[in-house]
């Protein structure tokens, strides 16, 4: 479960007041809203990258409002993907596991498993600079999935892709939704994308989560 309760964020002229939102455990939630409405800010609040002035963030029944990003166990795919330019694709998939002190064999097994799930086994020896948009997307997704997070956050991950690659990514995300028990909050401003993926809709309008409905 992802739950935001009375979240207030103030930064300069921008502010979000008293935002409340809940994605039930295992559901795929899509958050829509205009550019600049604060969608990315909300994801950053859930990750712990942006401090809140008031309110509480609860993930899987745990209050994480005051926890560091590292302690929240959230898989995050930002809009610009932010792949690590000096690490290979294999290192990306292994990153969260190495940080957690996994043994070499366990890391390699998980990397192979992820690469197969995402169809990037042939890319393991490559670096981000040489990847296409869709490939980079899969690597960012794999990096976030590696540690088996209970919560996944996507920030307009498909906005820069061509139609065919976008369709492939939709299929992949639906497969992940069906194969892995994970609670997802996916930010987009593309209504077709939202309809293709969402089990639950949210719309952020004028600082309020205005419309929610269940599919």
């Amino acid at each position: 479960m992802i739950s935001l309760c009375g979240i207030t964020v103030r930064q300069g002229a921008f502010s979000l007041e008293d935002v409340t939102l809940e994605v039930p455990t295992g559901a795929y939630g899509v958050l829509m809203g205009k550019t600049g409405s604060g969608k990315t800010t909300l994801l950053e609040v859930i990750c712990g990258l942006r401090p809140v002035a008031a309110g509480a963030v609860r993930l899987m029944d745990r209050d994480v409002t005051r926890l560091r990003p590292a302690a929240r166990g959230v898989g995050y795919v930002p809009q610009d993907l932010a792949l690590f330019p000096t690490l290979s694709v294999r290192d990306h998939l292994a990153f969260a596991l190495v940080v957690r002190g996994w043994g070499r064999r366990a890391v390699e097994a998980r990397v192979q498993e992820l690469a197969q799930l995402l169809g990037i086994s042939h890319l393991l020896g490559r670096w981000p600079a040489g990847l296409s948009g869709g490939e980079a997307q899969r690597v960012a997704l794999g990096r976030a999935l590696a540690m088996r997070p209970a919560v996944l956050l996507f920030d307009e991950p498909l906005s820069a892709l061509d139609d065919q690659t976008r369709q492939e990514m939709h299929d992949l995300l639906r497969r992940i939704r069906n194969e892995i028990t994970v609670t997802v909050l996916h930010v987009t401003h593309n209504r077709a994308e939202a309809q293709s993926l969402a089990q639950q809709f949210f719309e952020l309008r004028d600082g309020v989560v205005a419309a929610t409905c269940q599919k």
Binding site: A70, Y76, P78, A82, F84, A96
Partner: protein, 286 residues
């Protein structure tokens, strides 16, 4: 042909001047202007080297290389510059990180303070070091444990005071240019701040670290003002290559001074090219 058919052509907006042949020559003119400006500076540098070369001879160059004093100065220069570079990076990398990634009260003041060694006249810096180590309680206490003034440590300290400021500036700009996004993602993946720094940020800053190092090294090699005041110009003791040039000049031996200058230029070129090749190997940035 009807009037209607010709009308759109008559109303068509003419292409901008830059699109035609005239534009081509304008572009060439622009590039030629840039080339002339760059060329005049390159000509000045080559003129300087040529002037040094003309005022000395292979005999003077050989004599300088064989001279025990010059050999000592060369060794001390290489050793002190390398030590200064390492010390500068040791301070500049964390300082650049703090200035680029942290917000705290008094940051602007600290920023300005870090530029003081750059704007201070070299002689004033030497004087300040001399006073700090000889006329303050703390300085005298240090001198009792490790003799600094007029000894080798003073050479490194004089070079470090200036070179480090340049290295800090370079590292700050380097970190500023790297988006904090990758570190933030690393935090969400379980990294502490320091793990994200070592695993994600610093590898991306490799080129900037190399630039800071070469800048610090080159700046130290040419440092003379504070060394003259703080370390003295004693042969076989605190003599670095700029000191040798000064000592040769002061006795009117311009040919030898030019020879030592050429040795400095060659040393700098070799070290900087080797550092660049070695530092950027495997990064695709060469």
């Amino acid at each position: 042909m009807s009037r209607e058919a010709t009308a759109p052509a008559a109303d068509a907006v003419p292409p901008p001047a830059a699109a035609g042949l005239a534009g081509l020559s304008r572009d060439s003119l622009f590039l030629a202007g840039l080339g002339t400006l760059l060329g005049s500076y390159v000509a000045l540098i080559l003129g300087l080297l040529l002037a040094l070369g003309m005022f000395t001879s292979p005999q003077h160059l050989l004599a300088a290389i064989r001279s025990e004093e010059i050999q000592f100065a060369l060794k001390l220069s290489l050793l002190s510059c390398t030590l200064t570079t390492l010390l500068s990076l040791w301070i500049a990398i964390p300082a650049g990180y703090v200035l680029s990634r942290c917000r705290f009260p008094g940051k602007n003041l600290l920023d300005a303070l870090l530029d003081i060694p750059i704007v201070l006249p070299p002689l004033v810096l030497g004087l300040a070091l001399l006073i700090l180590f000889n006329y303050t309680r703390l300085g005298r206490a240090v001198e009792r444990v490790v003799p600094v003034t007029f000894a080798v440590p003073s050479v490194v300290l004089a070079q470090f005071s200036v070179a480090c400021a340049f290295a800090v500036r370079t590292m700050r700009v380097t970190f500023d240019q790297i988006s904090p996004r990758t570190e933030q993602v690393a935090w969400t993946l379980g990294c502490s701040r320091s793990q994200a720094f070592w695993m994600v940020l610093l590898p991306q800053a490799r080129r900037g670290v190399l630039t800071a190092a070469t800048l610090a090294w080159a700046r130290s090699l040419g440092e003379f003002g504070p060394i003259l005041v703080f370390s003295g110009a004693t042969r076989m003791r605190t003599e670095v290559l700029p000191t040798s040039v000064f000592l040769e000049l002061s006795i009117g031996n311009i040919e030898a001074a030019a020879a030592v200058s050429l040795i400095m230029v060659l040393t700098a070129l070799v070290v900087l090219v080797v550092a660049r090749v070695f530092g950027l190997r495997g990064t695709g940035m060469l």
